[in-house]
Amino acid sequence: MKLAEALQVVVRTDPGVVRSHNEDAVWGDAAQGLVILADGMGGYNAGEVASGMATTLLSTNLQQIIPECKPREIDALSGKCLAHQHIIEQVALANDSIYRAAQSQPQYAGMGTTLVIAWFFDNTVSVGHIGDSRLYRLRGEEFRQITRDHSLLQEQLDSGMITPEQAKYSQNKNLVTRALGVDPEVEVEIHDYEVLPGDIFLLCSDGLSDMVEDEEISMTVQTLQSNLDLAGDQLIQMANDNGGRDNVSVILVKVRGDFAAPSGWWQKLLAWFK
C-alpha cells in the first residue's frame, strides 16, 4: 500500500485561551510519511519564528530527500541508517539557522524550540525529538508515551527524587534541558519503532499533555478513532476547557494498512505497475 493510502494524518493547532500568540508550529503529509511538531519559546514573537523555521526547514529539505532515499541503507561514514543520518543532518542545519538568526537579530535573541519528528517508511517509524513535546502511541487498548521528555522534571523522575504522582504537582514543568536553536549544537534523540495496521500515533505540545491527563487523552483517541478529525478537535477543546493556558497542538497519524517497502524483484515489478 502506498503511504498516502496507508496513513491518515490530522493536524491541529490552537493558541489556547490565555495566550495571544501561537508559538507552536505543525506540519504533516501522509504521502511523504512525514509529520513535524515544534513548540517555540522566546520573547515577543521570537518563539513562533523559531518553531516556524524548524518545521519549514525540516519539511522542505526532507521532502526533497525522501523520494530518492532508501532509509534502511547504512551510511558508510557514520555507520547509521540513512533515515537517522538525514534527520541528524537536517536537524543540525535547522539548529544552525535558528541559532544564527538568534545571534544576529536582537529581537530573536534567546529563541528556541522543541521538536518531534516522525518519519514513516517500510512499516517502521523513526522518531526524533528534542525537549518536552511528545509522541504517544495507541495500539489496541494500550496507550503509551513513546518519547521521554528532555526536561528537569523527567530527570527528577528518573533519579527517583519524585514519583509520577508528585510530578503532576511540580512547579518545574516548564523547564526543558534541550532545545533546538539555543546552542551551536544540539543532539536529537532518535529511535525506530515497528508500525502495525491500526496503530494511532499522537504528537503533541505540552499545551495538551499539561492540561489533559494521559488517561483522558487515551480515552478520547480510543473513542474517536473512527473519526480522526473529530478526535483532533476534541483534544484541543479539552485542553481549552481545562483552562487552555498554553498553545495546544496535536498531530494524529492513523495507520490504515501495511506499507512495507517492496523487496523482491516480483514485488518491485508489481509496485512499478501500480
Partner: protein, 249 residues
C-alpha cells in the same frame, strides 16, 4: 521563596528561608539548622531545594522524621506540610503568588547544564559565559520571577462541571434503561453503522456525529457535522434507537 517555620509546643522559634540547595538539620553544630536536643540525631535530615521544589530526606536518624504524622524516608514537600523531629515541628510554607493575570504562566524555558545552583552571590552573574546574557532569561532567577505557579496542580481539574445528566432509552430491547453521562465522552450507537458521541464540557453536554452515513436526529432535526448542545428533554435518534436526554435534579 519557600521557608520552614520551626516551632515547639506551639511556640514559634525560628523562620528558616530555603535559600540553599541543601540544608541540613541535626543536633551537631555544623548543621544549617541546629536543634540541640537529645531526641535529634547528629545529622537528622536534609532539605534539598531545586528552584521551586523542595525535598525532605531523613538521614537514617535514630528517631525518624514524620511528615503530617507519617514516617518518611524521602518526601516531596507541599505547602503547609508539617515535619516532625522529636518534639520539634517544622512547617513548610511555599506561598508563591497565585495564578492571576500573568500570561507568562508556564512559559517553557531552556535549562542549561550547570544552571542549577543555589541562589548565587552577585559575582556569579558576571561569571556567566558572555554568549548567554540576553539569551534566555537567567535560568536561576527566571523560574522564581516567572513562577506565578501555585501549589495548585498544573493539570487543572475542569473549571466547573455541568449538572449531572442521563440518557434514557425509549425503545428497543433495553427500553427504560438509563445511562449516566459521567465520563468526558460517551459514545452511542453501533460501531460500523452509526456512532455519535456526547462530550461533557464545563457549560453543558454536546452531541457530535462520529461515523456512519446517517447523522443523528435531535428533537426532530437532523444534525450536521457540527457539535450540537443538548437541551433538557431532547430526544435523540441514533441507529433506530430513540433516547431522551435530561438533567438529573
Amino acid at each position: 521563596m519557600a521557608k520552614m517555620i520551626l516551632s515547639m509546643d506551639g511556640l514559634v522559634l525560628k523562620e528558616i528561608p530555603l535559600n540553599k540547595e541543601r540544608l541540613t538539620i541535626g543536633r551537631k553544630p555544623h548543621n544549617d539548622i541546629q536543634i540541640d536536643n537529645l531526641a535529634i540525631s547528629g545529622e537528622h535530615a536534609a532539605i534539598v531545594t531545586i528552584l521551586n521544589d523542595s525535598f525532605l530526606e531523613d538521614l537514617n536518624s535514630t528517631n525518624g522524621t514524620l511528615v503530617n504524622g507519617q514516617p518518611i524516608k524521602k518526601h516531596f514537600l507541599k505547602n503547609n506540610d508539617v515535619v516532625e523531629l522529636g518534639k520539634y515541628k517544622l512547617k513548610y510554607i511555599n506561598d508563591t503568588p497565585s495564578i492571576g493575570g500573568s500570561a507568562d504562566f508556564e512559559k517553557t524555558m531552556v535549562l542549561r547544564a550547570g544552571a542549577i545552583k543555589p541562589p548565587a552571590p552577585e559575582k556569579d552573574k558576571d561569571a556567566e559565559p558572555p554568549t548567554l546574557p540576553g539569551a534566555s532569561p537567567a535560568p536561576v532567577a527566571a523560574p522564581v520571577a516567572a513562577a506565578e505557579a501555585t501549589a495548585a496542580p498544573a493539570v487543572a481539574a475542569p473549571a466547573q462541571t455541568p449538572a449531572p445528566a442521563v440518557i434514557q432509552l425509549l425503545n428497543g430491547p433495553n427500553a427504560g434503561k438509563e445511562l449516566e453521562l459521567a465520563k468526558t465522552l460517551t459514545t452511542l450507537g453501533k460501531p460500523g453503522v452509526q456512532v455519535a458521541v456526547i462530550a461533557k464540557r464545563p457549560h453543558g453536554y454536546f452531541i457530535t456525529h462520529v461515523e456512519g452515513a446517517q447523522f443523528p436526529v435531535v428533537s426532530g432535526k437532523t444534525l450536521d457535522a457540527q457539535a450540537h448542545q443538548l437541551e433538557d428533554h431532547d430526544v435523540i435518534e441514533i441507529a433506530g434507537i430513540k433516547m431522551e436526554f435530561f438533567y438529573k435534579t
